[in-house]
């Protein structure tokens, strides 16, 4: 729920150049779809061209799931998201920390290696992360094109990151 609220805030000031928007959710996520539809509905009131889609992939990792099983479930999620990313061919992948973003980004990277159009990966670490990165953040710090943090302590620890202050 927190991740969804944050990402919708990140989207709130984007122009319609960022269109169509493809939302990818974990299959077990029960709350985000309503928030997304409500956000897009409001948006459609201002921008008649607003378009979006919603897809679900298997959740790659439950909170505090063990390492070994996490690798298996993440691999399964990657296999599942490869055809989805291939179909969507995104220009930009925006993610902010739930485990769901890792298979999506890895799929995009793999497909990019196989000469599909390369997506720009922008990762925004959650505002809850003041001193340490989330697991998704630790992984995607090395694979993202732009890695944004919201507190100065993280900018110091992770010099390749971008610090814009609080953006949600």
């Amino acid at each position: 729920g927190g991740h969804t609220t944050e990402i919708l805030r990140l989207l709130s000031c984007l122009s319609e150049s960022y269109c169509p928007r493809h939302y990818v959710l974990a299959d077990s996520d029960k709350m985000s779809e309503a928030k997304i539809r409500s956000f897009e509905q409001k948006r459609a009131e201002t921008f008649s061209s607003a378009q979006f889609t919603l897809d679900r992939i298997p959740r790659s990792r439950e909170v505090r799931q063990s390492w070994t099983t996490s690798v298996v479930t993440t691999l399964y999620s990657i296999l599942y998201s490869l055809p989805l990313i291939y179909k969507l061919k995104p220009d930009l992948i925006l993610c902010n920390g739930p485990g769901t973003c890792v298979p999506v980004c890895i799929s995009a990277l793999l497909l990019g290696l196989l000469s599909m159009k390369r997506a720009t990966i922008v990762y925004v670490e959650s505002i809850c992360r003041v001193e340490t990165l989330s697991l998704s953040g630790k992984i995607l710090y090395y694979f993202s094109d732009y890695f944004i943090v919201q507190w100065p302590a993280l900018k110091e620890k992770y010099p390749k990151s971008v610090y814009l202050g609080r953006i949600v």
Binding site: G2, L11, S17, L92, C128, R129, L164, G165, R166, I167
Partner: protein
């Protein structure tokens, strides 16, 4: 409250909020402009959730205690010392992305 979808209504009517250190609870409360006391659960000391609560306390936006000191905190608190919590700036993010993609 276990079965309520949202405490937004109660939050708007509250004069003081006492909450755990969950980020959602803290931010929702601060954005509503309500004074907040965060109660830290000592058993979860290594939980990263504490990071935000600690930072908010350092910045003077929340009061902070644990279960055993809650009563004392309530008795001696001075809510006027709490600083208002400014909103975030998603427009800075939009500007950043526009620069990345060359949009005007």
């Amino acid at each position: 409250f276990r079965f309520k979808d949202s405490v937004a209504e109660e939050l708007r009517r509250a004069d003081l909020v006492i909450s755990h250190a969950g980020a959602g609870s803290c931010l929702e409360t601060l954005e509503e402009g309500k004074p907040l006391i965060v109660v830290i659960n000592e058993k979860l000391m290594n939980n990263h959730q504490l990071e935000l609560a600690k930072q908010l306390h350092r910045d003077g936006h929340v009061l902070y205690c644990n279960c055993s000191t809650l009563v004392e905190t309530l008795q001696s608190m001075d809510l006027s010392t709490l600083k208002p919590f400014p909103p975030g700036h998603p427009e800075k993010f939009a500007l950043f992305l526009d620069n990345v993609f060359g949009f005007q």
